[in-house]
Structures are given as structure tokens and as C-alpha cells.
């Protein structure tokens, strides 16, 4: 019998497998995806939010525990667990040595992401390079890996893990770590969670999934049905505005549209609906997915003019391009008259001071609802560009409640040998909102905790 069974194949699962193997336990990791698609959502990640009190290799200045905690408190609006959050934060200050040992390499912030130079350590080559390194290290240490091995159910006895089932194959283990991701690619579950809106639409039908198609939440659903204590709200997720032409799954980072603050965003009725210049884009990009989810048809368009070109990350697909407002409206399939009127109203309301995209400048609209508070300049310089936007779900927050041991709980009693890590429990720390790199911090911290604790239990059971 294997000591520790790890279910899942992304960052948290790999951290658990490595930690368990290091502790001396035999490890079997079951990845639902084939090898080419291994790693869950982790191949799409790029950095780790790190606490540090002084400059550290690729990180400048300091990012103390208290500031990190305040940032997390702020984005979650208090929907977090301070004890677990601080555990993650402290772990993030020391885990990189361990990550390096297992082959992960770091680099300073990428171009276009320089504002994270202080807070986030980037993986050299991105998340897939990290995933590759962890698999190499895990196999080098003797952990066994099986691909295309989705676990549909597990056998529990009074909250005690007995075995997992891959199809009809029963796999026993002394302890188990669940790290099989959220349910973001389960269309039916998303549909139920988001329900029907007043217009009779099922908003979630129009969501795109930025990550893996393998996060169907099968195991999460099983655990919830089996009576594991839940945490979080099924409609809460990391959700951003992405190019409407993005693939249904695995569009990843490159499908983001970062032109929002430089122009206006309109809905299907060719109306603006939110202050595009409320804050710096890095502080607002994660709310635009939800904003668009609330619009008719769950679609919107970012409209910019030639002045914006070269000031935002180049989009993966070329935008619609036109010499006049009317022509652009036609290309985008929007009502020309309304589109023209919206832009005329906006243009007339712009009070242009000194445009500066690097600070909260003094270019704002006057007497316009909704206002645009910064970077408001008339959209008057052809060619004009339009990008269709849809909500893009990164990962869901509904999960299993844990304490600092990462044990799964039933009726507030911890399981002796069943642990959980990654997206399946991230909602404990991240009940709402997002701040870049914190998902990987949670996955790394709790993956290692779950792996070590599972190994300890298994090794004790052996004797």
C-alpha cells in the first residue's frame, strides 16, 4: 500500500507530493489530465506573492507581513481567515529556497508588470516551467506519477480515508491529499451557481474558462456531498475581462485585454456602465469579469483610439479597426446611432489636464454618468479600435474548510488522514477578490503542509 496518495497534478498537488516524499513516505500522484495537459491551472500562472523584509534576489525593497495581510484583507473585504492567511504569508517568505531546490527558477518582474517588482517573484519561463521542474524532481525522488487517472470518488470510513477510485480501480493509501482544483470548467455547476438573471439569461453560459478543462470539480462535489465542511460561495471566483474570441478553455494570460483604462467600455446597448478610470488597471482588472457578467448578453467592448496604441499590453488577437465611430460600430455589430451618441457624450464630458498613465492623473469627465475619473481623453483620433470582452474565469473559490493542519473536516472534526490543498481550499484565505500571485502562495504553503502532515500520519500508521 502506498503511504501518501496525492489526487491532482498542479502546483499544490506537486508541493504535497514533494513534501511527503521528502518526509520519507512513498507517494503516488494521480493526474486526471494526459501528460501534455498536466498541471491543472498552474501552467498558466507566472508568479508568487512573497513577503520579505529586505530586498531578496529578484525582489526589490520590502513587503512586510503586515502590508501583505492588509492587501489581502482589502481585496477580500474581510472574507478571509486571519490565522491561515498569516500562515500563508509567512510561508511565502521562506518557501522559495525549497522551490529552488526542486528546480524552480526565479526572475524579476516581466516587462509590462514592473509594479509587481516588490511583491511578486516571477517563475523563469512561467508556471509550466515550474510544473515541469516539480514533476522532474518528484520523479527523481521516486514519487510515482500516473496520468489520465481521474478520481471520481473516494472511500471514507467515519471521516477516515480508505481508498480512491479511478474508474473501477480501487487504490488504497495510508493517507491522502486532495488537490484536484476548483469546479471552473464544470459548465453545469457554474450555470446552477450563477442561476438565471432578470432577463431570463443563464449568465454562466457565456463565461470563458482561462484555465484547464480538467477542473470539473468532481472530487469537490463528492466531498461536499459526503459531508465535508464547506467554505466559500460558489459564485465567487477569480474572474477577469478577456477577449471574447478566446478559446473556451486554456486561453491563459494572453487573452486579457488591458486597454480598458485608456478608453471606454460599452455594453450591447452601446452604453457605458462603469468608471473605466477608477483606479490603476492592476487594481481593477479582476473586477471587470464580474462587471461584464452583469451586463446583457455578458458581453462588452473596449473602445480606444490611436492615442492608446503602444500604451497597453498588445492583445493576442487584432481588434476591429475603423476610420470612423460609425464604421467601428458597424464592424462590432452595435447600433451606430447609440454608439455615436455615447462617444459624443463622453468626448464632450472629457476635461483633459495632463495625461499620465503612470499615475492617477487629472484627466476626468464632468457631469457624466458613470464618470471616468482618470485618463479621460476624447476618443477622437482615428483609427479607432474595438475589442469584444467576455468574463473569463480563472478559478472558483468554493472549497473545503480547513485549519492550519490542512485536514479535511467533517462536522468540525478533522479527518485523521485526509488533507486538502490548492484551489479546493483556497477559499479559506481568499473568500472574494484577488491579488496577483496569492493563489500560488496558498497552493505552495498548504500543499507542503498537507504533504508533510499526510506523510507523518502514514509513517506512523506503518509502525
Amino acid at each position: 500500500m502506498v503511504d501518501v496518495l496525492v489526487i491532482g497534478g498542479g502546483n499544490a498537488a506537486l508541493c504535497a507530493a514533494l513534501a511527503a516524499r521528502e518526509a520519507g513516505a512513498s507517494v503516488l500522484l494521480l493526474e486526471a489530465a494526459p501528460r501534455d495537459w498536466r498541471g491543472g491551472n498552474s501552467p498558466h500562472t507566472r508568479n508568487l506573492r512573497c513577503m520579505h523584509d529586505a530586498p531578496q534576489d529578484v525582489l526589490v525593497d520590502a513587503y512586510p507581513e503586515e502590508e501583505y495581510w492588509q492587501d489581502l484583507l482589502n481585496v477580500t473585504g474581510g472574507r478571509t481567515d486571519e490565522k491561515l492567511a498569516r500562515l500563508v504569508i509567512r510561508e511565502s517568505s521562506t518557501c522559495r529556497m525549497w522551490m529552488r531546490k526542486h528546480g524552480v527558477r526565479f526572475q524579476p518582474s516581466l516587462s509590462g508588470a514592473l509594479h509587481t517588482a516588490r511583491t511578486n517573484a516571477f517563475f523563469l519561463g512561467g508556471g509550466k516551467a515550474l510544473v515541469n521542474a516539480y514533476y522532474r524532481s518528484a520523479e527523481g525522488l521516486g514519487a510515482r506519477v500516473r496520468y489520465q487517472a481521474p478520481v471520481e470518488r473516494i472511500e471514507l470510513q467515519d471521516g477516515h480515508f480508505k481508498a480512491a477510485f479511478v474508474g473501477n480501480e480501487r487504490i488504497e493509501a495510508r493517507a491522502c491529499v486532495l488537490a484536484a482544483g476548483g469546479f471552473e470548467s464544470n459548465r453545469q455547476w457554474l450555470r446552477e451557481a450563477w442561476g438565471r438573471n432578470d432577463a431570463g439569461e443563464w449568465p454562466a453560459d457565456n463565461f470563458l474558462i482561462r484555465g484547464t478543462r480538467f477542473n470539473t470539480g468532481t472530487l469537490l462535489r463528492f466531498m461536499l456531498d459526503a459531508g465535508a465542511d464547506p467554505v466559500g460561495d460558489p459564485t465567487q471566483a477569480h474572474m477577469v475581462a478577456i477577449d471574447a474570441r478566446a478559446p473556451l478553455y486554456d486561453g491563459g494570460i494572453c487573452t486579457r485585454i488591458d486597454s480598458v483604462t485608456l478608453g471606454v467600455v460599452i455594453n450591447r446597448a452601446a452604453e457605458r456602465f462603469y468608471d473605466e478610470g477608477e483606479e490603476f488597471w492592476p487594481k481593477r482588472y479582476a473586477i471587470w469579469g464580474r462587471l461584464i457578467a452583469q451586463q446583457p448578453g455578458q458581453i462588452a467592448w473596449s473602445i480606444i483610439d490611436a492615442k492608446a496604441i503602444g500604451r497597453f499590453m498588445p492583445p493576442v488577437f487584432p481588434g476591429a479597426k475603423a476610420a470612423t465611430h460609425e464604421e467601428l460600430a458597424r464592424q462590432l455589430g452595435l447600433d451606430e446611432a447609440r454608439f455615436g451618441a455615447t462617444l459624443r457624450r463622453y468626448n464632450a464630458a472629457c476635461r483633459v489636464g495632463t495625461f499620465d498613465h503612470t499615475r492617477l492623473d487629472d484627466c476626468a469627465t464632468q457631469d457624466l454618468q458613470p464618470a471616468k475619473s482618470h485618463w479621460a481623453r476624447p476618443i477622437d483620433t482615428p483609427p479607432f479600435y474595438g475589442y469584444a470582452l467576455r468574463p473569463g474565469v480563472t478559478f472558483t473559490y468554493l472549497g473545503l474548510r480547513v485549519d492550519e493542519t490542512a485536514a479535511v473536516r467533517f462536522g468540525d472534526q478533522p479527518s485523521a488522514n485526509l488533507f486538502v490543498a490548492g484551489e479546493m481550499m483556497a477559499g479559506n484565505v481568499l473568500g472574494k477578490g484577488y491579488t496577483a500571485g496569492v493563489g500560488m502562495s496558498i497552493g505552495t504553503a498548504f500543499g507542503r503542509i498537507a504533504g508533510s502532515n499526510a506523510a507523518a500520519v502514514a509513517l506512523k500508521a506503518q509502525h
Binding site: D36, W37, P43, H44, R46, R105, Q107, L110, S111, G112, A113, L114, H115, T116, F122, F123, L124, G125, G126, G127, K128, A129, N132, R136, P247, D250, G252, I253, C254, T255, R256, D258, W281, P282, Y285, I309, G310, R311, F312, M313, P314, P315, V316, F317, P318, H357, T358, A436
Partner: protein, 374 residues
């Protein structure tokens, strides 16, 4: 006002432009090499830039294994492969004289014919000069098989032609990428990056990919052995030329003489390096680079291997009756190597150095884009 013509892209170039638009929206690979930082200075990729970036790519494979959009993803991003195909196009497009650019297309055949021709020439000449291939030459004096003047008259024009042809090609390439003025610091940096093969280090110093996602310095080291071994052999020839003309000291030289020491060391180093490169090439991950170019790559490595091997055999067998045969073999291989120098894999060296120089110049220029995001 000077008009810059917009040239239509060919399919291989269109593919690089498509891939780079995806890469430019992602940028995860920025730390691996110079290609990606150079890419981020651009929003669009006209033909000349595609050729510049394709030649800046060292085909290390790191960005393929790290790519979230690599096949089987529907975006099908394979940067090393797309770049390799455009590189081959570069060699053809800028070849001088232009019709000989076609030789890159069927390079395996080109090299084989050159080798056969070189061998036939020297074997027949040896027989013609001394009646048979098996005749002992006292003191291993190979000038009695092929007179010094004859060898100079044959090799000097061939070598000079190779230099001129490559220089014209790379000059055209250089003008197309509009680099601007070259400062001393940029030139020094480019030389450093070329001589150390900086961009085969993976950005973390652990090397590039060969058979899988594991990093290894094997290719970088084998390439160093090959290149510096080749240089030692070349230095041996240069010193011997100096001895001959400046001091009147004629070959063959003692085993402890400078030309011999340089040549023997160079030959051994080149032999090990090229054998290593061949081994690695045969085991390369099939998705790296362009498999259609394998005959060119392997043909060139094979010629280097043969040149080194035959040179060492000649040195060992110089006092036997096999001298003439070994000499004819060696000179035939070397002639084939030099004749095909401008129309084979060797071209990568000059175009890559030019691309590295362009990058060293470019990265000292201010970036005109003000892109920022999360």
C-alpha cells in the same frame, strides 16, 4: 522622404508573426534569451524584424517546453520551429550570388556532391602525381604528393570566395534590420555573447533542452569544443603559413612544433565536439527546430567530424605508405567543407552574430513603448 516598402510575408514568416503576437501578449519566456525582450520592443513584426528575431533564436528549446500554448493547445505555438524555418529562408534570401541560395534547400545533396567531388579530385590528382596511392614519402613530406603552390592556388580562392559570399550576404541582412550606429560596448557585448554562447544557458545557467524538458549544458559545451577546436586548426594553418613565408621553414614540422601542437589539439577537440553535437542532434526532441533542416545540420557536423578525424589519421599515418591516400581524403574533406561554407549550416554563425550585434545595439536604444499592465 525615403519610402520603406512593405514586403508581403511568406507562409513561414506569417507563422512567426502569428506566434509572436501570442508571445507578446504572454511574455512568460522573457528570461530565457534575447528573442523575447527584443519582441517586447515591438507591436508589429514586419519581414526584416522576423528575420532578425529568427536569427537571434538559438533553438535552445526552453520556450517550447515552458509554453502553455504549445501543441496540443489550439494556438499551436512552437517558437523554435517557426524561427528555424525563417532562418533557412534568411540564408536563401541573402545568399550571394543569389542563385546559389538554392543550395541550402537541398543541402544534404549539396554537401554529398561537394564531398564526392573533393575526394575524387584529390585521389585522382594523387594518382596522377605519383602513379599510385601507396608510396612511402620520406619524412612524411606531403608536399611531394601535392606541391605547396598547388594547394595554395586551390584553397586560397575557395576560402576567399567563402569569406566574400558570406560577407555580402550578412551585409544585406544587416542593412535590412536598420540597426543604427554600433557603439564599442555593443560590439563587445555581442562578441562576448557569441563567444560564450550566452543564449544556450537557458537564462539560469543550466543550459538548454535536448531530449525533454530537462536542462543540460551538453550542447553548449560541445559547440564550444567544436568552434574552438576549429579555431585551433585554423590557427595551426595560419602559423604554418607564417613559418613558410616569413621564415622559410617548410612543412612537415616536428611533433613538438607550434603548428603541430595547435593542429593536433584542435583536431582532437573538434573531433570530440562534433561527435558530441552529432550525438545530441540525433537525440533531439523532434519538435525542436525544423526537421527538414536535419540534412543540413548533420551534413555540416559530419564534414567537421570527417575533417578532424581524417586530419588526425593523416598525422598518425604520415610515415606509412598510406600517406597519399590519407592526405587525399583529408584535403578532399577540407575542400568540401570550405566550398560549401557559405551555402550550409556555417551560415548560422555569421547571421547569428549579426543578430546578436543588432540586439546589443537595440537594447541600448530607448524603448518607445509605454506598455504596463497588472
Amino acid at each position: 522622404m525615403q519610402m520603406i516598402p512593405i514586403q508581403a510575408l511568406r507562409p513561414d514568416e506569417t507563422e512567426v508573426a502569428r506566434v509572436l503576437q501570442i508571445c507578446n501578449a504572454c511574455r512568460y519566456c522573457e528570461g530565457f534569451c534575447a528573442v523575447f525582450p527584443a519582441m517586447t520592443r515591438r507591436l508589429e513584426f514586419p519581414k526584416a524584424d522576423l528575420h532578425y528575431l529568427a536569427n537571434l533564436c538559438h533553438n535552445c528549446g526552453a520556450c517550447l517546453h515552458a509554453c502553455q500554448y504549445a501543441p496540443p493547445h489550439e494556438f499551436g505555438v512552437n517558437v523554435p520551429q517557426a524561427m528555424a524555418r525563417v532562418r533557412a529562408q534568411t540564408y536563401v534570401d541573402f545568399a550571394w550570388p543569389a542563385p546559389l541560395g538554392a543550395l541550402y534547400r537541398r543541402n544534404g545533396l549539396t554537401l554529398a556532391l561537394a564531398l564526392a567531388g573533393g575526394l575524387a579530385l584529390f585521389l585522382l590528382l594523387a594518382i596522377a602525381n605519383q602513379g599510385s596511392l601507396r608510396q612511402l614519402q620520406p619524412g612524411g613530406d606531403f608536399y611531394r604528393v601535392f606541391p605547396h603552390g598547388f594547394l595554395v592556388a586551390l584553397f586560397l580562392p575557395v576560402f576567399a570566395f567563402a569569406v566574400v559570399a558570406l560577407a555580402i550576404g550578412v551585409t544585406r541582412f544587416w542593412r535590412n534590420v536598420t540597426p543604427g550606429a554600433v557603439a564599442g560596448a555593443a560590439a563587445a557585448e555581442a562578441a562576448h555573447d557569441a563567444l560564450r554562447l550566452k543564449y544556450l544557458d537557458g537564462g539560469h545557467g543550466e543550459g538548454c533542452n535536448e531530449t525533454d524538458d530537462r536542462f543540460t549544458l551538453a550542447r553548449r559545451r560541445c559547440h564550444h569544443l567544436t568552434f574552438y577546436g576549429f579555431l585551433l586548426c585554423f590557427a595551426a594553418t595560419c602559423v604554418a603559413t607564417l613559418y613558410h613565408y616569413a621564415f622559410g621553414w617548410h612543412a612537415p614540422y616536428e611533433a613538438t612544433s607550434l603548428p603541430k601542437l595547435l593542429g593536433i589539439t584542435g583536431g582532437i577537440v573538434l573531433l570530440i565536439g562534433s561527435a558530441g553535437l552529432m550525438y545530441l542532434n540525433l537525440r533531439r526532441h523532434p519538435a525542436h527546430g525544423d526537421t527538414a533542416q536535419q540534412p543540413m545540420d548533420r551534413g555540416f557536423i559530419a564534414l567537421l567530424l570527417l575533417a578532424a578525424g581524417s586530419g588526425l589519421l593523416l598525422m598518425l599515418g604520415r610515415n606509412t605508405s598510406a600517406l597519399a591516400l590519407l592526405l587525399a581524403l583529408h584535403l578532399g574533406v577540407v575542400l568540401a567543407l570550405f566550398v560549401t561554407l557559405p551555402y550550409g549550416k556555417f551560415a548560422h554563425a555569421v547571421y547569428r552574430c549579426a543578430a546578436l550585434l543588432k540586439w546589443a545595439v537595440e537594447r541600448r536604444q530607448p524603448n518607445t513603448l509605454g506598455v504596463d499592465e497588472d
